[in-house]
Homo-oligomer: 440 residues x 4
């Protein structure tokens, strides 16, 4: 890395890319990114060029010494890279529309990373990521793979179990968001608190909140629930949980828990929203189209404010902080997806978990958190089972394994539904599931 | 036990009691039961007398030296007992009707041992069993508590964690039924096979079937599923699972799994059945009424055949075999609920599990089975979480803990539903939930 | 096995063989051994013929339908065998003399299965056993390997980790001896007690003794120690432990523990004994020579009484009972060496342990015993470390790994001694350590 | 802590105290210690005054706003303290002389924290520390107990298991010394490397060394061993291990491992050293006497250089850095003794371990390190057994438990020796073992 850092970003045509550029620009002094290779597939070429040109304008305006390369040649981009970030979306947003609509049409939660939709996203994404891993072994064996591609938990599990790449970290902006929300509630800066997270990606809990060395979790939870009944914190309170339930749980679950502990109401909300303005993917498609219109403006040379409404708050912060801490051996604490190694006693040491880690130059080291609290052990184990079965199906393209995984998913109402959903989703995503169809 | 065995049966007025009497009569030579004390509460006095008189006629006809005592004085019955069997039903079948109907009325599975109904059965039953344990400490500290009262898993968990009684075994006739079913499918006697069970009460799996030392699980599962498509084994095949799913799972789940992996269809079935002939409890009430009519017949001096249709197949076998093996140190293998002690690596060593045990005079010793298969780990952990939270609520009578337990139960669709169900069920069972109402 | 059982006994020329023959003769009705192949190496040919001819006379006299084959062709013996028993001794007793003398000459315990001697026995034996396993895969893939060859714990560990043979059991007569000793002390038959053993081969403890369902361990230990001070049980009391120590431990250690908890006195005893009549191996050699003289007697057609003094008490019982229980699916409890699978929580589930197992047709299933008592956890873990490092060295023939294993062995006083002992023992056993010398 | 920090130092009369003063003076800006209470017992009054007056002169010279209080009233010192540091030595150096001499006189390692000597130091120290804990509950319930008193591992274990104080950290300067030594060998500053330590106090290993994100352990170990054969690093190489052994181990053991893996040679060294200049304690006594002579010099107002030869290198650094990181929530990584909580999978989560921890305002959080390497698991478990048994004996004053603990200590050659040593050491330390003698 003597001449500066080379980064390859797979899925570089994403609307999120300006976040990343902005993050690198801000950190140039300590994180000298000299080459950023934005890679995409032919189907994404147009977007890649739009966003890539914006990136070039941003870098130029900032007066930063960073080359932006746009390419469809993944190998060229990976060659000697120091970091590989993956933010790809196999099948683009159209695939996500199907992941949401098809389950919904059967009265089942349709979601990007949970339920049958999340599993199909894994079926599409995992083989591509494992392919990238194989390329990395050849082209940049010392590089770090920083994965944002969802479902990030399953992708990390797959890389840990089915690739030779050990330098992998899965990343999500969810925990940072929770931490900042908690800090707001307490009226302090987020560096003044310590939040212990335990769980899996999109299945994580702020287990304990410390301020001045004291456990203030109960205070935080109470304030969150008071918000409901009209306190001044109403704007902060997006928890939407039954107040007594949340206070008894005495932890803060990531919002995705609603799919499991509010299945019925979430499904009703999804169906109502759908009637109104289509699935979430369809909303996002419209937002993205508007964003790309903005990006085309040759006078735009910075990240537009509208991007923040896209949903990727703290994305740049999470990504750049992680890369920065690895590069500079910062040994600060971040919440990432990594090999458990015993940090959570109840989960296989070889599995991926999401928890507080010290980020060193040799990678993240998870902090020991002992046994999971009884109340959340069940659902976390449940999702780990789904993750592992889904990954097994994804890497083999085995129909039967996919059926097993769907059936035991708690969001799938029965084995009969599992089969209907499986068949319909396989057909819908056929083009992006070569393993499933070549195996047949 | 020099003069022979004294047994106290709490809930002695149960329609199942003749099963037990028959079992003891058959085993008189090796299991010399000299005193059987049938205990019940005033509300059950009439039934107690009917069934107790039948018991006396059975013993007399068999020419066996066994005194039958009918009493409402539990202490007298417990005094110096060698075995205490608990088959009580707090609130009788009327309470079960509520456990089924109320959840059903909210579109939720209504069931005796699962979902909100099962939890309320625990709320009613656990405190009574813990009271019996306290009496036992005083009156028969060396006795064994053989518990059949449902939910047997939670009751055993409660005794292990919240009483001083270590000599406790939870018993269910489910595994014997599965084992015999498997033997039928293979066309052999059940002693010719070995079935390894792992899990919890009503959440148990026949994980591996051995015949002649070989693993024949796949053969058994295949035959089970072939039954569906019209083979001659159709009558045996009651599994009702998607064939591909079951073959991929390669284990035989106890039927209760249907509430979790066929939630939607089971709920539809419950609702259809309800329309037709009321809830299961209401059907059972009618069966019981007929049974008690039969029992009244002073010419009847043996177990009537109709009892077998009541649903307690192998109940006598399970109960008497267990008592027999403890008494005679038989060291044979039975499937019971006992302290895990590491037999299943993924579950707290202190928790109750249901698995193969060697039955010795010092009690059951579970056989080590290592880690749970990934596919079933999730649901088993999920139910263990529910069991532990439910027991915590049951022993404290704490409304908030009950709400937490209901909300994380995978059969409860949301926290909102949890609260509605909790409030309605609390009100309905008020009379039998002193801890919940005295605490308020 | 339709026509009856075929057994191949590797190391068939052992003086113990008549024990085995007698055991099979006694059990003919339920254990129809039709062919017994005694296999040995050319160096053991003479002994093989002597003991083999005695075996033939024994079988003939008993009028039993069992063919005795004597051969040096291992493949012929293994072909289609149902059970393979290994009682071989690579390098014969002369090698054992070196295992004892060389350590002793450096002021270190010299012993057949412990310390440097035991490790070298493993270095010689493990590769031979793994060779037999490879043959078995080809010639009798369904056979059971019943290993008596010492060090039985390390050999079992090696087979579990480095062969494809899963049907392996390691056997030792030690636990039966302890159990019978305890029964004698209590004045009952050994079937009237239940003894829970935990640990490793030659590192095992009778953790709890039950009689009539009660824990009577303290009573047993007290009687054992009272024996010291002149009670009538003196003849039984061979424990030789400090009475207070043993009562506080409240377990009965196998005698080999003396090498660890009485190192100094044991070493003194060894040196005194050596002065008097040579090492233990040399004594055994003389005993064996006398035995073989007896065996030659063509009028002898039964096991001579003198064999019992050889040290193999219960050898026949252990071996034949195990084979019998596997063959007949007896499901009784025996203490054998098998894969832990979580039975002892503190030891790797993949490692070999020695504990109570149910013996079924599909093999031994260990009984869960939870955590090891604190007082014995240290030494057991210590020896497991030695076992695993020794096996690693044995299968690779790696000098450095052997040095590591010796150095951390608690019976080796220093790294300097480890090197001296390693070099001297390697040279002494050169002929039987091809892996170590071909690797160089 | 609004007005600044109050620290109570129990054993304040120690010769190490100037180290601590110097550390606080250096860190005044970020660590505003306003009151330092040096506490000692009447027997240490003279030393307390000498060292206390030096402390006052040091503070005055540095122009720092810190009050130094000298007292024999522990309660006064503890009242509202923020940190309590314990560096006490029950029985002073005279007791240590006995801990070394008596075992030596029986041919046994005599050492301050290992073997019988270390156990007796625990017997004397643990009850005093637990007394301090009781006082803390009353007088300063929010304070942190920072314990240096040896044997620090056993003391921490005792506080975790037998007190209500959760805010406890055990501290040792050993790991810092190893880390700095490694950095020297690599020719870099210690902040440029990351060393993962695992184990227990005085039984710890530098398991992996990272530089620039790469595992350089083998390089470090090789350089260490090359030192032996005359490299320029000879002065650094104090490892004294067989080179092949250390390279195969591929970890750096703390020097105390020599008592276990070089028992014979260490014992010889101890005996030779003893002949020459008495036991280590006697040497230290002379050094201390000289130090106190220096301290008396009213012109001395800084830490004298000679103190560094006393053996407490990095003591100040370890102590002040820890207090500083807790106070300022630095979240840096330090190696301390804390509750395992699963960080080392093979050790009870409730036990004390020594490993890398993030130091936060709410205390140290250990980093997950998974399973112990096989080669060191044995000895670490062995010492944990000794620690736990020793603590059990220390808190009860039970002779039998003490005998058990001594007998299973791998440095005690036999149960016979254990009894002799126990009796002789009990008598020698009678005055400081009230629990043992009042219990009798």
């Amino acid at each position: 890395m003597s001449k500066g850092i080379k980064i390859a970003t797979i899925g570089g045509g994403s609307s999120y890319t300006p976040e990343l550029i902005e993050g690198f620009i801000k950190r140039q002094k300590e994180l000298p990114v000299r080459e950023l290779w934005l890679v995409d597939v032919p189907a994404g070429k147009e977007k890649l060029e739009i966003v890539g040109n914006l990136a070039k304008r941003m870098v130029e305006k900032a007066g930063v010494d960073m080359e932006i390369h746009l390419t469809m040649d993944r190998e060229e981009a990976l060659k000697d890279a120091d970091f590989v970030t993956t933010q790809l979306r196999v099948g683009q947003l159209d695939a996500r529309v199907k992941d949401e609509r098809i389950p919904n049409s059967h009265g089942v939660v349709g979601q990007e990373t949970n339920g049958p939709g999340g599993m199909f996203k894994a079926f599409r994404t995992v083989p591509v990521i494992l392919d990238i891993c194989k390329d990395m072994e050849r082209l940049c064996p010392n590089a770090w793979l920083i994965n944002f591609a969802n479902p990030a938990g399953m992708v990390t599990e797959a890389v840990l179990r089915y690739s030779n790449i050990n330098r992998v970290v899965g990343l999500c902006n969810g925990p940072i968001g929770i931490e900042k929300n908690i800090a707001d509630i307490l009226g302090v800066d987020h560096t003044e608190i310590y939040v212990e997270f335990v769980g899996l990606n999109h299945m994580v809990f702020a287990k304990t909140v410390y301020k001045d060395g004291e456990d203030v979790t109960a205070e935080v939870v109470t304030k969150m629930t008071e918000g409901e009944s009209g306190s001044t914190l109403k704007n902060i309170n997006a928890t939407g949980w039954d107040a007594t339930f949340l206070r008894t749980l005495n932890m803060i679950p990531i919002d995705y828990l609603r799919y499991y502990w509010q299945t019925r109401t979430q499904l009703e909300d999804q169906q109502a929203a759908y009637e109104k303005h289509g699935t979430r993917a369809e909303v996002v498609k419209r937002v993205e189209a508007e964003l790309f219109e903005l990006y085309k403006d040759v006078d735009l040379a910075e990240k537009p404010k509208q991007l923040e409404q896209r949903g990727g708050a703290y994305y740049s912060e999470a990504a750049c902080n992680l890369i920065n801490s690895i590069y500079n051996d910062k040994r600060d604490i971040q919440i990432v997806n990594t090999r458990n190694n015993g940090a959570i006693l109840d989960i296989d040491p070889e599995s991926a978990i999401e928890t507080n880690c010290v980020i060193t130059r040799q990678g993240p080291i998870p902090l020991a958190s002992g046994h999971l609290p009884v109340a959340i052990n069940g659902i976390i184990q449940q999702i780990k089972t789904v993750e592992r079965l889904t990954v097994d199906a994804a890497v083999t393209g085995d129909y039967d394994k996919a059926l097993l995984a769907l059936t035991v998913n708690p969001l799938v109402p029965s084995d009969t539904d599992a089969r209907v959903l499986l068949d319909e989703l396989l057909e819908a995503h056929k083009e992006h599931l070569p393993l499933f169809f070549n195996n047949k």
